[in-house]
């Protein structure tokens, strides 16, 4: 079996007496989509924040692509190929769509102590940014201010910014958050198209999306990983059903 692209061992994060992430072991194989589900407050976002480097764990080890990244900063992890999207849309609202993507590309095109030539007419940045926007279907909206894009488009842009960093692993924190059924479906199809090309950690509330995309699912409840398995195994797992899915949804999904 191939070495995992991401390996998390004994990860712990507590805020006072509350254990948001409690001794979690976790791994993602190359090309795999590994979903993390769990009720609100289960520690999913805290989990992603630690993997992406925005939050320091209290204990545990994170190995990404053969590097121990536990002590590395978020930018350093990004440079190694770890990209993320945020649950609450996090874009540069006063930049255009293409500037948002171009900035992501710039972050991975050497240092930015370049003080003289205009950045946003640089074909090295704008060329690939336009190509990426075309690919994800936002090409026609490239020159619109990000704050003026529709919510669904902003969510797409968010993922485009992650893709523009040339990642080996995508951490997607609820990519369909706040979306209507149509937009959700669009993202689902889009992510399905990325499957196999990118390894993904998918945090998602929407069970349709999870069961449609995930190769494996880990269930997080009160910071503990109570089960890991294929979608079929998770559906059939009694503990999961009791803790989280609820009878109806488990059968219906």
């Amino acid at each position: 079996m191939a070495d995992p692209i991401l390996k998390v061992e004994g990860l712990i994060k507590h805020f006072g007496g509350v254990y948001a992430v409690d001794n979690v072991d976790f791994e993602i194989l190359p090309g795999e989509i590994h979903a993390v589900i769990g009720p609100n407050g289960a520690g999913k976002t805290t989990f992603v924040a630690q993997i992406s480097g925005l939050l320091a764990p209290d204990a545990g080890r994170i190995v990404f692509d053969g590097h121990d990244v536990t002590a590395l900063s978020a930018p350093q992890r990004s440079q190694l190929g770890l990209a993320r999207s945020f649950q609450i849309t996090s874009i540069f609202r006063n930049f255009t769509a293409i500037e948002n993507v171009a900035l992501s590309i710039q972050a991975h095109a050497g240092h930015s102590f370049r003080f003289w030539r205009p950045a946003m007419s640089d074909p090295e940045l704008i060329g690939p940014a336009r190509k990426l926007l075309d690919e994800i279907g936002l090409g026609a909206r490239a020159d619109i201010l990000a704050s003026n894009l529709a919510h669904g488009e902003q969510r797409q842009l968010e993922i485009a910014m992650a893709l523009a960093t040339g990642p080996k692993l995508l951490l997607l924190d609820e990519p369909t958050a706040g979306m209507g059924p149509e937009d959700s479906e669009r993202i689902r199809v889009f992510l399905a198209g990325l499957k196999g090309t990118y390894s993904m950690l998918l945090i998602e509330h929407d069970m349709d999306t999870v069961f449609a995309l995930a190769d494996r699912i880990t269930v997080l409840v009160y910071g503990k990983a109570i089960a890991t398995g294929t979608p079929g195994e998770i559906r059939g797992n009694d503990a999961v059903r009791a803790a989280y899915l609820g009878e109806d949804e488990a059968v219906g999904a």
Binding site: S90, F95, S104, P118, A119
Partner: protein
């Protein structure tokens, strides 16, 4: 940038270039020093806008670099060294170093803490200046004008005036290149969403610090020019009140517009000159309370020109604010 805005800038620079002959013609040399002072503070306000308007760094201590640049002139002058080719680089290097130290510490904080700690550092420098008895303490001391041997003679007011104008144009041009460069995109992105910048791979601290140092060095040049203009040095150049004035100029002109702060500096200094005179005309002795009248002017500006004077110019493009 719209054509209208470009036209406003060109007209402004042409007008500034015409001040000396006009002042000479109407025999009012006072205007020469008035507009020279406006331009010196325009450089300071533009430099502050680079970090405040574009980088989101609310530095309440920008006068520190003004003072450092001025000290570079006066202290050399004190020891009999009037060579401008030495003083000017020293003003730039010294203010850059001061900005490096202050920035390296302050940029680890944000929000209100950043404002207060930049203020505190500048006040420390102010009191340091006061305690340096050898350089006149709080009385300050005279300074000779810098000598640029066989280049131009700064003892001629008109030469100094055009040197200041040249530095203003240079500052604005450098600022324009900076904010549109890759470096500029990083500090603007970091103002917009620092967390996101880090997540896409930018170690933002070092870029913000570099921006802080560049702005400090640019303001140091303003200090160099100020000391030449006044032929005097006082720790007052570093007083927090001065920092506040530079910030008000930037806000009045339009934060994050680069060109606006020039007009903010002009508006501020002209109002500062004229309001007391007006009040004096109305009633003798009112002039010294000019802040009472100036306050409401600021309030009106804040209420009706949220994007500063520069924002009053009609604009359909968005990038230049």
């Amino acid at each position: 940038m719209t054509r209208l805005k470009l036209a406003v800038i060109i007209v402004a620079f042409v007008a500034l270039a015409l001040v000396p002959p006009v002042a000479h013609l109407i025999d009012e040399p006072y205007y020469l020093s008035l507009f020279a002072r406006i331009m010196v503070f325009a450089i300071a306000a533009v430099s502050l806008d680079l970090i405040l308007g574009y980088g989101g760094m609310i530095s309440f201590g920008h006068a520190a670099y003004l003072g450092t640049g001025a000290y570079a002139v006066a202290v050399f002058s004190f020891y009999g060294i009037d060579n401008g080719w030495l003083q000017l680089p020293m003003a730039i290097i010294a203010s850059a170093l001061v900005a490096l130290v202050i920035g390296a510490i302050c940029l680890r904080t944000s929000g209100i803490y950043f404002i207060m700690i930049t203020l505190a550092f500048t006040q420390m420098l102010y009191f340091l200046g006061i305690s340096l008895e050898v350089y006149g303490g709080d009385d300050g001391m005279d300074a000779n004008r810098s000598e640029f041997v066989s280049w131009f003679d700064l003892t001629e007011d008109i030469n100094l005036y055009y040197l200041i104008l040249a530095f203003l144009i240079l500052s604005v041009y450098i600022g324009y290149r900076l904010i549109n460069s890759r470096f500029g995109m990083v500090i603007r992105g970091s103002k917009s969403n620092d967390l996101r910048m880090q997540a896409i791979g930018f170690p933002t601290f070092r870029y913000k610090l570099m921006g802080f140092v560049i702005a400090g060095a640019m303001c140091g040049v303003a200090g160099f020019l100020l000391a030449n203009l006044t032929e005097f040095l006082t720790p007052e150049y570093m007083h927090w009140f001065r920092s506040g004035e530079i910030m008000i100029m930037t806000l009045m002109g339009g934060m994050g517009t680069l060109f606006g702060p020039m007009f903010g500096a002009a508006a501020f200094i002209l109002l500062e000159e004229w309001i007391p005179e007006l009040l004096e005309l109305i009633h003798q002795g009112w002039g010294e309370h000019w802040w009472v009248a100036f306050g409401p002017v600021l309030v009106i500006l804040v209420l009706f020109a949220k994007r500063g004077l520069w924002g009053l110019i009609p604009d359909r493009s968005r990038n230049d604010g």
